[in-house]
């Protein structure tokens, strides 16, 4: 050691790097293979989404929200619809709320199944684990296609409900999916949960202690992985979530492994909620949309009274919030998206410091980001 002087090395990971899940760059300062500092660099996918929305009528923004978190267009739609409904005082019929929750929980299962798969990709188990998640995701996308006509850019929600009711073939296919899901959870967990390499690569890595997690404003599985049982479906219930029974799984240490376990457990909780929704769906009252808003002309001409509203939903990645200010015209005066993927990156530098370079991609994978939402 004595003859060699140690130099710090600057390395750019990204923007074109398979582990960054899109065009995202990390400026890493290394001492040997150990991370001394890490700075995330944003903006490669920035398109000023918020200004586009302020130049559009309220309903024109609905399909844009699909492009925020393009894995979970249903929950992005939900957050935006909820904010506009609060602003304009629009009621949602019971059946529409059930359909919305059903889509949201299906979305959570597909997101977590693929997020775990992608993270294990980053560990080097190239695509084998991911294919298990992708297989279930395809079935859920079949359901989305039946309901909305699109697999990923669903554009399914409208102010006051959803664009159309579930087609007759939806529920039989849904029941078939539900029958297979417990076996999928078991198989997926058996494959990954106790795998020696995965445990070694993820436990004790990227710890976000419980005491600092709240200060960093992280939400979703990252916050719950640090042991804080905070879930907007419980803290500020929207739609029918106040009526559904579910548990909030939490981690204990706040490392990559805990965040992964939280995602495994949340898929089972979503399954539990889907069972309750399925059971009650035939008895729901009201149509798929508030009759006063059923005509698309009403959606187009919507002029919420002057005021402001902030609505948030528990998207699979965390708290997805929409802040709207209306001046009484057909376009929002201010439209802001509180994107969970973006804000969950705040402690990335702190979480990576002291770990090996190879752990950085695993920590990033455990946060579960999607660049469409980070850069907006």
């Amino acid at each position: 050691m004595s003859a060699h002087e140690s130099h710090l090395l600057q390395v750019n990971i990204g923007p074109q790097h398979p582990s960054t899940h899109g065009v995202f760059r990390m400026e890493v300062t290394l001492d040997g293979e150990t991370v001394v500092a890490l700075r995330p660099v944003f903006g490669y996918l920035h398109r000023n989404h918020e200004q586009l929305a302020e130049a559009s009528s309220y309903i024109q923004t609905m399909p844009y929200t699909d492009r925020l978190d393009y894995f979970n267009s249903m929950t992005s739609n939900y957050g935006y619809a909820l904010a506009v409904e609060r602003l304009a005082g629009i009621d949602v019929p019971q059946r529409a709320n059930y359909i919305r929750a059903l889509m949201s929980e299906l979305t959570r299962i597909l997101n977590h199944a693929t997020a775990i798969g992608f993270m294990i990709n980053d560990m080097g188990a190239w695509h084998t684990a991911l294919q298990f998640g992708m297989r279930e995701r395809e079935k859920i996308l079949d359901l989305f296609e039946m309901a909305s006509g699109a697999r990923m850019m669903c554009n399914y929600f409208r102010f006051g409900g959803v664009v159309r009711d579930l087609p007759p073939e939806f529920l039989p296919y849904f029941d078939q999916l539900m029958r297979g899901l417990p076996a999928f959870f078991d198989e997926f967990e058996r494959l990954l949960r106790d795998n020696e390499i995965i445990v070694a690569r993820s436990s004790g890595i990227g710890i976000l202690p419980r005491e600092v997690a709240a200060g960093y404003s992280v939400t979703g599985p990252v916050l719950r992985g640090s042991g804080i049982p905070y879930d907007i479906r419980r803290a500020e219930p929207y739609g029918i979530y106040g009526e559904l029974a579910f548990d909030i799984p939490v981690g204990s240490v706040g490392d990559v492994y805990d965040r992964t376990l939280v995602r495994f457990a949340e898929m089972r909780q979503s399954y539990r909620m889907l069972q309750q929704i399925r059971e009650r769906l035939p008895d729901t009252i009201g149509g798929h949309i508030n009759p006063a808003m059923a005509n698309f002309g009403k959606q187009k001409a919507l002029r919420p009274p002057a005021g402001e509203a902030y609505a948030r939903v528990e998207s699979p990645k965390g708290e997805l919030g929409f802040y709207l200010v209306s001046d009484g015209s057909t376009r929002p005066y201010r439209y802001k998206v509180r994107a969970p993927s973006f804000i969950n990156l705040t402690p990335l530098g702190a979480m990576c410091r002291g770990h090996l370079l190879a752990d950085v991609v695993v920590i990033l994978g455990s946060i579960d980001i999607v660049m469409g939402e980070v850069d907006r």
């Binding site: 944003f42 903006g43 920035h46 000023n48 918020e50 200004q51 130049a55 609060r86 600092v212 709240a214 200060g215 960093y216 404003s217 992280v218 939400t219 804080i228 905070y230 803290a235 500020e236 509203a309 902030y310 609505a311 948030r312 708290e319 919030g321 802040y323 200010v325 005066y333 201010r334 802001k336 509180r338 973006f342 804000i343 990156l345 705040t346 402690p347 850069d375 907006r376």
Partner: protein, 151 residues
Amino acid sequence: MSDQPGERLIAASPAAWRDATRLEAHGDHLPAVARVVRDQLGYDMLTNLTAVDDLARGEIEVIYHVVSLAGGAPLAFRARTPRDAARLPSLVACWPGAELQEREAYDLFGVVFDGHPDLRRIYLWDDFIGHPMRRDFPRQGDKYIAGAGEE
């Protein structure tokens, strides 16, 4: 804000976001108000920070949405600053989660947050001129539109 911001804040705690009292803090008192909100009222998470360009009043309003992880009603408070010299104290020391969000408000609205550890543009490149979320930013014909100023 008076010398005892805490008492006025407690009286102003709203029942829900929708009815959030328009609680405004003078820019100079913002760090003190934030500490009262965090330590005395128990709002341990700054969930959302954003700005609104109030062109009519010539001011930029910065809104802070805070929640308590233990439960209870969320709170929104806000501060105003003149558009032509937009400047507010940073709250990163109180809530580290403000770091990226203040950078975003700086980049898109041009609000300078004094005391921010690393206040740089976040989405736009460093030599970009102007702040595109301001209401009077030209929506077309500026020098960044393809074709303008190119050979």
